[in-house]
Amino acid sequence: MEQPIRVLVAKPGLDGHDRGAKVVAAALRDAGMEVIYGGLHQTPEAIVQMAVQEDVDAVGLSILSGAHMTLFPKVKEHLNRAGAESILLTGGGIISAGDMDKLEKLGVGQLFGPGSRLADLVDYIEKEVARRRTATRSA
């Protein structure tokens, strides 16, 4: 049996608008994933610590404050430093296409802007995690 995908959903930074994070958490659960909800106002260090201990396949961050160009790179950097570069880092928020490209170059996965479909996010995580699991298994 294929093992359930484990995802950490959290909100870094000071912004408290958790509508997106909660809707995403519920959708991932309903897609059969195990969602560890990390809560609001988390620092990048704390997020990575949680991701490591929970041995998740993916981390999903919701950032609406405009601080994504600071927060995503920081989380990515801490993930790498913890030897957890194989964990998929994805998320969403008010992020322009230009910023998405820049973040992708830093190794952040696909990001989902306003109006994105939950189904697309679920799909992306499923595919990407499956790909990474196969890659590490054959490595």
Partner: protein
């Protein structure tokens, strides 16, 4: 509000023959393949007749404008005397950037100012705090000390304009800075008009920008209400807000009921402190969202006034008419805007604004088309303001008062809104009140469920959003609009300014005023004088909030889904 029997057949027996004929004719033709429900996922009947509002008493339920129960409006003459206040929320980057924007808006005919603060300020952190990195000046203006407030209002006649400040957890402190700035300009406190949002309950319920636990937070709110009643009589110390509850994903009815319940909780808290209801209730104001379902919103506004009037008079014994009338600010729904085909947002905003006006709003903010991306550009803000002016001066809707009164559909919807809200109040009472329900995570869960249900309906195509799930266009085809960029330089500059302030003030005065805040926080005196003394000594927001964090503790919510 789940059952709609209107025109659906249950009551046919007592219906006139003509109605039965209509019903047969209606049933004989196929209907469009659409869910026929509001954006709150409430079903809408195809037709409402006088039969459905048979129980409605035109005198006691609707009445006349300026008369109990104020369904038709809080004032006798409404927009025939004065149009609503056109108030656009503004604030970004540094205090001097925002000051320039204020002057721009005042020159173009805006009547009141509205300040958005950045997240560090909203959470009680100075610009140089580690949690502030990357967030300074991003969603609003950074105000770390009195010096920033002085820059923000430099050259703005504070005794003449009214200012609305969107700040909650640290509202008392920021308001103290505002009052001291005005005093230094030579204004008297009694001259100052404006609003502090200062609605902490909806922070726990929806926006989640809380700092302290509910009990000390409520005390801070009551302190400001008490201080305003005694010293700043033209100020609205609390703006009881449904806007954020709606943005968090609630339905219209939930927005209505949760917001009013919050307001009643403040009323009860003040009365517990021994304040006379008529001493503070006249300065309470409300703040609602205006979403895309036109009639649902209008009914919500009208129901809000009626429920409020009845409760204030009958439950809390408010005698003055001003204590019984609900006056409100409206903002069009940010969550209804789409990143796709952004020009469509101008159109959405237009009818949302129109619903606010037909619902009898006292002031209005119209969103700019680019607000899903970032803070609005000047061009977009101008169109948004022009939207209000077009409604006010060209559409003709402001010429007569409450033109929709007596519409069977609107009155029926208003009734149903009121009933549904009353049911929610009962549930809240059963749980032991608003704070108990917050601690149980009840509001949070209700909202999360509505948000999720809505999102699923959108994805299933039951809720149509043009440009998102209908009439989509390729990204290439889509018109691009200019966006306002905020550089990271402004963060560095803000931190530098803060350090300069810290190095030039009197350390002794800082110590002394922080000690007073600590003492007062542990006692039961009003904290406002201590905050004002500290503001004057250029004690920073972060320094004051830290003392309160130590004395009051901090809040953490149990997540619910």
């Amino acid at each position: 509000m789940k059952t709609v029997d209107t025109a659906s057949g249950d009551k046919t027996q007592s219906r006139p023959a003509k109605f039965v004929t209509w019903q047969e004719a209606f049933g004989a033709v196929p209907q469009r393949n659409a869910p026929f429900e509001t954006v709150s996922c409430e079903p809408v009947p195809p037709l409402v007749t006088e039969h459905d509002v048979a129980g409605l008493d035109a005198d006691t339920d609707i009445g006349l404008p300026g008369q109990f129960p104020f369904t038709r409006g809080p004032y006798a003459s409404m927009y025939r005397t004065r149009l609503w206040t056109m108030r656009q929320f503004a604030g970004f980057g540094s205090a001097s950037d925002t000051n320039a924007r204020f002057k721009y808006l005042l020159e173009r005919g805006q009547d009141g100012l509205s300040v958005a603060f950045d997240l560090p300020t909203l959470m009680g952190y100075d610009a140089d705090h580690e949690h502030s990195v990357g967030e300074v000046g991003r969603c609003g203006v950074a105000v770390s000390s009195l010096a920033d407030m002085e820059t923000l209002f430099d050259g703005v006649p504070m005794a003449e304009v009214t200012t609305s400040m969107t700040i909650n957890s640290p509202a008392a402190i920021v308001w103290a800075m505002y009052l001291v700035t005005a005093q230094k300009q030579g204004c008297k406190l009694e001259q100052l008009g404006g609003t502090t949002q200062n609605d902490i309950l909806k922070e726990y319920i929806a926006q989640k920008e809380y700092i302290f636990p509910p009990a000390p937070s409520m005390r801070l709110v009551v302190d400001t209400m008490d201080f305003a009643a005694k010293h700043v009589p033209r100020w609205h110390p609390v703006s009881i807000s449904g806007y954020h509850i709606r943005e968090a994903g609630s339905t219209a009815v939930q927005e209505l009921a949760f917001t009013l319940a919050d307001g009643f909780a403040y009323v009860e808290a003040c009365m517990e402190r021994g304040m006379d209801v008529d001493s503070f209730a006249p300065r309470l104001s409300h703040f609602f969202n205006s979403h895309v379902d036109f009639f649902e919103e209008i009914a919500k506004f009208r129901a809000a006034r009626r429920i409020y009037a009845r409760r204030m008079r009958d439950k809390y014994g408010a005698k003055s008419q001003r204590s019984q009338t609900l006056r409100f600010h409206t903002q069009t729904a940010g969550c209804s805007l789409t990143a796709q085909q952004p020009y469509n947002n101008i159109v959405r905003t237009t009818w949302e604004a129109l619903a606010g006006v037909l619902g009898g709003t006292q002031s209005l903010h119209t969103n700019s088309m680019d607000e899903t991306f970032a803070l609005p550009t000047e061009k977009a803000v101008k169109i948004a303001l022009r939207t209000q002016q077009l409604i006010a001066y060209e559409s003709g809707v402001a010429n007569t008062i409450d033109p929709l009164a007596g519409s069977w559909f609107v009155e029926d919807l208003t009734n149903r809104m009121e009933q549904a809200a009353e049911e929610i109040f009962e549930q809240i009472d059963e749980m032991g009140g608003v704070i108990a329900a917050i601690e149980k995570g009840w509001f949070q869960r209700e909202i999360a469920r509505s948000a999720y249900q809505y999102q699923r309906e959108v994805e299933a195509g039951h809720q149509v959003i043009i440009g998102v799930n209908h009439h989509k266009e390729d990204e290439q085809e889509e018109e691009k609009i200019d966006l306002l960029e905020i550089s990271l330089d402004s963060e560095r500059e803000q931190v530098a300014r803060l350090h300069k302030v810290k190095s030039t003030r009197s350390a002794a005065k800082v110590e002394e005023s922080l000690a007073r805040i600590r003492t007062d926080a542990n006692g039961s005196v009003n904290l406002m004088p201590a905050f004002m003394q500290a503001a004057e000594a250029y004690v920073t927001l972060g320094e004051m909030t830290d003392v309160l964090r130590e004395e009051f503790g901090t809040y953490r919510e149990t997540p619910t889904f």
